[in-house]
C-alpha cells in the first residue's frame, strides 16, 4: 500500500503540481502526519516525498510547515492532524495556523527527520524562498537549489531569474539552473553543454563535484564535463598552494600567541617555566567565566564578551604570574633544574585546581557570530576565526614590542636583564621588576588563552598541548628576541602545513622535530642569536 502511495506521489511530482493541486496537498500532509514518531526507512522516505510535493504545491502554508519541520517543531496526533509547536510550548494547527488550545504534549508525536529529509527540506525551502524580499535569503536559497540540483526546481528558477535584479544572486541562480540542467535527462544537448560551461566558469569544488559525476559517462556532454574537471583541477591546484600558506600562517599565529609570553619569561628572564601552558589555560577559563557572566547579567554585551575577556585574562593570568614569581620562582634564580621541576609541579597543581573548581569536562565557550563561518577569496577558503586570530597575534606581538621599547617599565626590564647590578645601582628595584616581567609574560599567555578558547578545548589540559611547541618556537627563533619568535612561529607553521598533506599529521610532526634538532645543533642560539656582551653573562 505504502509503495503504491509513494509511486503515486512520485508520478504527481513528475507531472507538476498544477494537475491536481488540492489532492496533492492533502496527500503531502498525510505523508508527513502518517510518519510521526517512526524512525523506519520507509517513513523517512515518505516524509521526504511529502516535502518535495508540498514545495511545488503552491500552498501558502508550505514554507511555514516545512520550516517547522526543519526546526523539529512539527507534530502529528493519532488522527494524522498536523500541529506546529509555538515558542511558548502551545500548539497551532499546521494547515491553518490557528491556535489549537486542546492539544497537549501527550497527544502528539514529533515528525522525525534525518539527513536525507534535511536535504529535501533545504532544497524545498530553497525553491520556495527564491522570491524572498531580502537579498541574503535569496542568495542562500539559490545556493540550496544549486546543492540539490533537482530538475523539478527549474520552472521556479526560470521565473525567479526573470525577476532578479541583484547581480550576485542572479549569477548564483544561473549556476543553480545550470546544475539542474546538466542532470535533466530531458534537456537538449545544447542547453546541457552551455550548463557545463557555466559550471566550469564557477570553477570551485562544488562545481567540480557536480561535473565529475557526468565525466564518467559517454557522449559530448560527458567529454565537455571531463575537460572542465581537468581545467578546474589545474586552477584549484594553484590555489591549494596559497591555501597551504594561509594554513601555515594561521598555525604559526597560534604558535606565536602561545609562545609570545614565553619569549618574555624564558627568552628575556631565562626562567624555564613549565607552568606557562597553565597560564594560557587560565586565560581560556577567564574567557569562559566572562562569557557566562555576560550571558547571565548583560546579554547585550554577549557578542563582544571575547573583547572584554582580553584585559580580564591579562590581569588574572598576570596576577597569578606575579604571585608565582614572588612565592616560588624568586627563590630559584640561577638554578634552572630546580626551576624546571618546581614549575612542572606547579603546572600539575594548577591543572588540578582548575579541575576541582570547574570539573574535568570541557567548557563550552561560544564562538560569536562575527567569528563563525568562512569567506571565499578566489579559490581560498578563509575561516573568520582563524583570520581574527592571525590579526590578533600580530597585534599582541606589536603591543608587546612597543611596551618593551617605549614604556618606562620596558626600559627597566631591559636594563635589569642586560645588567642587573648596574640597574640596581641606578635605583631600580630589581626584585619588583622581576615580578612584573614575569607577570607580563604570564599575562600575555592569558591573552593567548582567550584566542585558543575559540579553536581548542577549554579543559584543564589545554596548556599541555602548547608547552612543548612554545619552547620549540622560542628556541628556534633565538632566545630573547621577539622578532625571532615571530619568524620562528611562522616558519614552523608553514613547514608543518606543507609537510602534513605529504607525510600525514603524525609523521609530519616527527619530521618537523627532527629538522628542528638538526637546526639547533648547528645553530644552538636559534635563527636570530643575541649578540654582544649580554650573551656572555
Amino acid at each position: 500500500m505504502r509503495r503504491i502511495a509513494a509511486l503515486l506521489l512520485l508520478i504527481i511530482l513528475m507531472q507538476g503540481a498544477s494537475v491536481c493541486r488540492a489532492e496533492g496537498i492533502d496527500d503531502a500532509y498525510e505523508a508527513l502526519a502518517a510518519s510521526a514518531g517512526s524512525i523506519s526507512a520507509a517513513s523517512f522516505n515518505s516524509v521526504r516525498l511529502g516535502i518535495e510535493q508540498l514545495a511545488v504545491s503552491g500552498d501558502p502554508r508550505a514554507a511555514a510547515v516545512i520550516g517547522a519541520l526543519q526546526d523539529g517543531l512539527l507534530y502529528a496526533n493519532d488522527d494524522h492532524a498536523l500541529f506546529i509547536q509555538q515558542p511558548d510550548g502551545s500548539y497551532a494547527d499546521a494547515r491553518t495556523g490557528n491556535p489549537a488550545p486542546d492539544v497537549t504534549d501527550d497527544d502528539v508525536k514529533a515528525v522525525r527527520i534525518n539527513n536525507a529529509v534535511r536535504s529535501a527540506i533545504e532544497a524545498a525551502l530553497g525553491s520556495l524562498q527564491l522570491f524572498a524580499p531580502d537579498v541574503p535569503t535569496r542568495l542562500a536559497a539559490a545556493s540550496a537549489v544549486f546543492t540539490s540540483h533537482n530538475p523539478a526546481a527549474l520552472p521556479a528558477l526560470t521565473r525567479a531569474l526573470a525577476k532578479e535584479a541583484d547581480p550576485a544572486v542572479k549569477q548564483r541562480m544561473e549556476q543553480a539552473k545550470a546544475a539542474a540542467i546538466v542532470y535533466d535527462p530531458d534537456a537538449s544537448q545544447r542547453d546541457r553543454l552551455a550548463a557545463v560551461a557555466t559550471l566550469r566558469a564557477r570553477g570551485d569544488q562544488d562545481a567540480r563535484s557536480l561535473l565529475s559525476t557526468l565525466a564518467g559517462q559517454t557522449g559530448p556532454v560527458a567529454d565537455a564535463a571531463a575537460s572542465a574537471v581537468t581545467a578546474i583541477d589545474r586552477v584549484l591546484q594553484i590555489w591549494s598552494v596559497a591555501q597551504s600558506v594561509y594554513y601555515g600562517v594561521s598555525l604559526g599565529s597560534v604558535l606565536l600567541l602561545a609562545a609570545a609570553g614565553l619569549a618574555i619569561t624564558f627568552g628575556v628572564m631565562g626562567v624555564i617555566n613549565m607552568a606557562h601552558g597553565e597560564m594560557v589555560m587560565i586565560g581560556a577559563y577567564v574567557t569562559f567565566v566572562v562569557q557566562q557572566t555576560m550571558h547571565a547579567y548583560v546579554p547585550s554585551l554577549y557578542q563582544i564578551s571575547l573583547l572584554i575577556a582580553v584585559p580580564m585574562a591579562f590581569l588574572v593570568s598576570g596576577a597569578v604570574g606575579v604571585a608565582v614569581e614572588r612565592s616560588l620562582i624568586r627563590w630559584l634564580y640561577g638554578r634552572p633544574l630546580e626551576t624546571l621541576l618546581a614549575t612542572w609541579g606547579l603546572s600539575l597543581v594548577l591543572q588540578q585546581v582548575v579541575r576541582s573548581l570547574f570539573g574535568a569536562n570541557n567548557r563550552d565557550v561560544d564562538t560569536p557570530a562575527w567569528m563563525s563561518g568562512a569567506t571565499q577569496l578566489g579559490g581560498l577558503t578563509l575561516t573568520w576565526n582563524r583570520m581574527y586570530i592571525i590579526l590578533f597575534a600580530f597585534l599582541v606581538v606589536a603591543a608587546l614590542m612597543a611596551a618593551l621599547r617605549y614604556t618606562s617599565l620596558g626600559l627597566r626590564m631591559r636594563a635589569v636583564t642586560q645588567n642587573r647590578r648596574m640597574a640596581a645601582a641606578m635605583g631600580i628595584k630589581t626584585p619588583w621588576i622581576d615580578a612584573l616581567t614575569f607577570g607580563l609574560g604570564s599575562g600575555v599567555a592569558g591573552i593567548a588563552g582567550v584566542a585558543l578558547s575559540q579553536i581548542d578545548n577549554v579543559s584543564p589540559n589545554l596548556g599541555q598541548g602548547y608547552i612543548i611547541d612554545s619552547f620549540m618556537v622560542v628556541v628556534f627563533g633565538g632566545v630573547g628576541n621577539l622578532w625571532g619568535t615571530t619568524l620562528g612561529a611562522l616558519t614552523l607553521g608553514i613547514v608543518n602545513k606543507f609537510l602534513e598533506p605529504v607525510a600525514g599529521a603524525v609523521l609530519g610532526k616527527i619530521v618537523v622535530l627532527i629538522l628542528l634538532i638538526l637546526f639547533v645543533q648547528r645553530n644552538p642560539r636559534g635563527m636570530f642569536p643575541l649578540k654582544g656582551r649580554a650573551v656572555e653573562s
Partner: protein, 445 residues
C-alpha cells in the same frame, strides 16, 4: 548453542590425570590468595573502581566513577549482596597507563576487591589485563573497543566493532547512499584496529581502494584546517562521501569546529563518530553539527521507562540537573547488575564461581530490552544510530531490529577470521581456531 547449560557443575568433570591434578593445585594456591577468603571474615564486599580522576582521561572517566558509586549505593539500599554491604574502593590511576596496572594490583591484593569496574582506553585495559589474569580477579570494561581480545577475567560490556562500527557503515551505505569513505582516527590501537576491520569490510562490499581515504592524527590534535580541506576535496569527486571518525577525546572539539567553519554540513558530508557522546558534546556549540551522526548502544534521549528512571536517579545522585548520561554509563549499569546476578547465582564472590555463573545472565538494559552475557564474555546489545540535534542530544534515526551478538574476533581480518571465544566448559578458550580445532591463546587449564 544453549545458554542455560549448568556450567558450574561441569567444573572438574571430564578432566583426568595431570589435568585434574594441575587444576587442583591451581585451585589450592588460588584459595589462599582469593579475595573471597578475606571477605568471609568481614561484613562487606568490596568493589574496585579503577577510573582516572585526573589527567587527560578524567574528562570521560570521572563520570563512570560517579555512576558506579550510585549503583553501589542503590544496591545497598536494596539490602546489599549476599546479606553483606557493598563498598566501593575508588583509586585514581591518573590517565597513566602503567599506573593502571599498579592500582589494579592494589585493588585485588591489598583491598581484596571481589570485582573491579574500570578502564577507558584500550591501552589501559591492555595494561591491567595481565594483572587480572595473574591474580584471577574480574574486570568489567564498559567502553566500545576494537575487539580482537577475549580474556577469561574480563567482561566486555561495551560494544565490539560489529555492535557499533559495522552497523553504522551499513546505515550510511543503505540510507545515505555513501560511495566514498574517509576513515579518520587518532593514532593508537583502537582506531587503527577498527579502521583495519572497516577497510576490509568496505572492500568486501565492493568499495574500490581509491574510494577509501585513511587519515591518522596525534592525540589532542588541534589544527584541522588542511585535513578538513582535504576531506572536502576528497568529497568533491561526484560520489556521496562520508567520514567515519574514530577521533578520540580532546581532538574532537577542534575537528567539529573546523567542519562547521569550513561550512561542511551533514547533508553534504556526514560524519559518523564512535567516540562522541553526550558528554563530549557538552563542550561544543552543537548548532553547526546538526545531523552529524554517532553510533552507540544507548542515547540519553532513548524514550523508555527504565531510562527515565535512571536519568532521574543520576540527576538526584549527582545533585546536578544538567548532568548528562552516556553509553559507557549504561554499560556499567548493565555490567554491575549482571555481576550482582552472577554473584547471587554463584552464592559466593569467588572469582572462578562468578566467572562461570556470569555466562547466560540476562538483565534489562536502558533501551527497553534485555542484554545477556554470552560465552565470549561480551554482551548482546541493540545498535542505535543517532543524529546530533541543536540541544546536544541525539535523535535516533535507526535501530537494529533485534539485539546484536558481539564478534570478539573479527571475521574481516585474515588472522582472526577463524577464531571464536567460548569460556564455557569444555572448551574454555578465548581464541579457539575452528579450522584447526586448537586453542591458540588464553587457554585455561
Amino acid at each position: 548453542m544453549s545458554l542455560d547449560e549448568p556450567t558450574i557443575s561441569r567444573r572438574g568433570l571430564g578432566r583426568l590425570g595431570v589435568a585434574a591434578a594441575t587444576l587442583a593445585a591451581v585451585g589450592a594456591v588460588k584459595a589462599a590468595t582469593s579475595p573471597a577468603a578475606a571477605q568471609a571474615a568481614g561484613g562487606t564486599i568490596k568493589v574496585g573502581i579503577l577510573h582516572s580522576l585526573s589527567g587527560t582521561m578524567a574528562i570521560s572517566e570521572t563520570t563512570l566513577k560517579d555512576v558506579m558509586l550510585m549503583l553501589i549505593e542503590e544496591q545497598n539500599k536494596k539490602g546489599g549482596l549476599l546479606g553483606k554491604k557493598l563498598e566501593g574502593v575508588v583509586v585514581d590511576p591518573a590517565s597513566n597507563w602503567p599506573l593502571f596496572a599498579e592500582k589494579a594490583r592494589q585493588l585485588i591484593s591489598v583491598d581484596k576487591c571481589a570485582a573491579t569496574f574500570g578502564c577507558w582506553t584500550s591501552v589501559s585495559r591492555k595494561s591491567v589485563l595481565p594483572v587480572f589474569e595473574e591474580l584471577n580477579s574480574i574486570l568489567f570494561y564498559p567502553v566500545q573497543y576494537e575487539g580482537q581480545e577475549c580474556s577469561r577475567n574480563v567482561f566486555y560490556t561495551g560494544a565490539a566493532p560489529n555492535q557499533q562500527a559495522i552497523p553504522a557503515v551499513d546505515y550510511l551505505m543503505s540510507e545515505g547512499k555513501v560511495k566514498r569513505w574517509v576513515l579518520a582516527g587518532t593514532d593508537y590501537v583502537y582506531p587503527r584496529t577498527t579502521n583495519q576491520i572497516l577497510e576490509a569490510y568496505l572492500k568486501s562490499k565492493g568499495v574500490a581502494a581509491e574510494d577509501i581515504m585513511i587519515n591518522y592524527t596525534p592525540f589532542g590534535h588541534s589544527d584541522w584546517q588542511n585535513i578538513v580541506a582535504s576531506i572536502k576535496k576528497f568529497g568533491s569527486a561526484g560520489k556521496k562521501t562520508a567520514v567515519v571518525s574514530t577521533i578520540n577525546g580532546d581532538a574532537n572539539v577542534p575537528f567539529y569546529k573546523e567542519l562547521g567553519n569550513q561550512g561542511i554540513k551533514a547533508t553534504d558530508i556526514p560524519v559518523v563518530a564512535f567516540s562522541v557522546g553526550e558528554e563530549e558534546l557538552a563542550g561544543i556549540d552543537t548548532k553547526p553539527l546538526l545531523g552529524h551522526l554517532a553510533a552507540w548502544n544507548y542515547f540519553e534521549s532513548v524514550d523508555t521507562k527504565e531510562n527515565k528512571a535512571f536519568i532521574k536517579d543520576w540527576k538526584a545522585f549527582t545533585k546536578n540537573p544538567k548532568r548528562t548520561t552516556n553509553d559507557p554509563m549504561e554499560a556499567h549499569y548493565i555490567g554491575f547488575n549482571m555481576w550482582v546476578k552472577g554473584v547471587e547465582k554463584a552464592g559466593t564472590t569467588d572469582s572462578d564461581a562468578v566467572i562461570d555463573a556470569m555466562i547466560g545472565v540476562s538483565v534489562p538494559n536502558l533501551s527497553g530490552g534485555y542484554s545477556a552475557m554470552m560465552p565470549n564474555h561480551h554482551i548482546t546489545k541493540p545498535v542505535l544510530i543517532g543524529e546530533i540535534q541543536a540541544n546536544g542530544q541525539f535523535n535516533t534515526v535507526s535501530e537494529t531490529p533485534g539485539l546484536v551478538v558481539a564478534q570478539e574476533w573479527s571475521p574481516y581480518v585474515e588472522d582472526t577470521k577463524d577464531l571464536i571465544g567460548d569460556w564455557r566448559a569444555p572448551m574454555r578458550c578465548g581464541a579457539f581456531n575452528v579450522k584447526t580445532g586448537t586453542c591458540t591463546a588464553g587457554k585455561k587449564a
